[in-house]
Symmetry: C2
Subunit: 116 residues, 2 copies
Amino acid sequence: MTVPVPPLTPPYHVVVFTSLLRAPDPAYEAMAQRMVALARDAPGFLGMDSARGTDGLGITVSYWTDEAAIAAWKADTRHLAAQRLGNADWYASYSLHVARVERAYSGPRDTETPAS
Amino acid sequence: MTVPVPPLTPPYHVVVFTSLLRAPDPAYEAMAQRMVALARDAPGFLGMDSARGTDGLGITVSYWTDEAAIAAWKADTRHLAAQRLGNADWYASYSLHVARVERAYSGPRDTETPAS
């Protein structure tokens, strides 16, 4: 699942959310898609990518203009409700990293956009 | 696929590598596993997680002590050969973000390790 990230000049921020599901659950997938739809409209949201393998390990990376935008999305009441459900019902474990992007490139043709 | 990341105190670095495969290829998977085995022994490597969904979108996040360790791993000759093959044969597209981790936590029980 992807919300395309436009070409951006660092610095901006990335949130890396890694989770292991206890068991596959269509209700989880529906909630995850609702959260993507909400995040798209959140101030400062730039784009995201998400993948989950057959072993249940999933990684979602989302890109944001700054830390304040990430904090506001974390505190969104609809997102908070989803976080509570995730903790209670869905996740065997998860980790979250907030990081400041310093450089980025894409390919097959290398196109680097170094920090300004 | 995971190489467990021990509890760490920021700052450290994360590399987010997102790729879309042209087509499933067992040779790609074998190469990817060889690269993980090599990266584990690379100086400054801290851990990684990797997931690929049925749509062909894969995300690998690897954690490193610093930028110098990331640059050295990028320049490893065995890794360079794999990058060339990826560009030529395997990837429809990819993007890579290098970012400095500012804070991290994990759950279900929230355990935050803020930057020192």
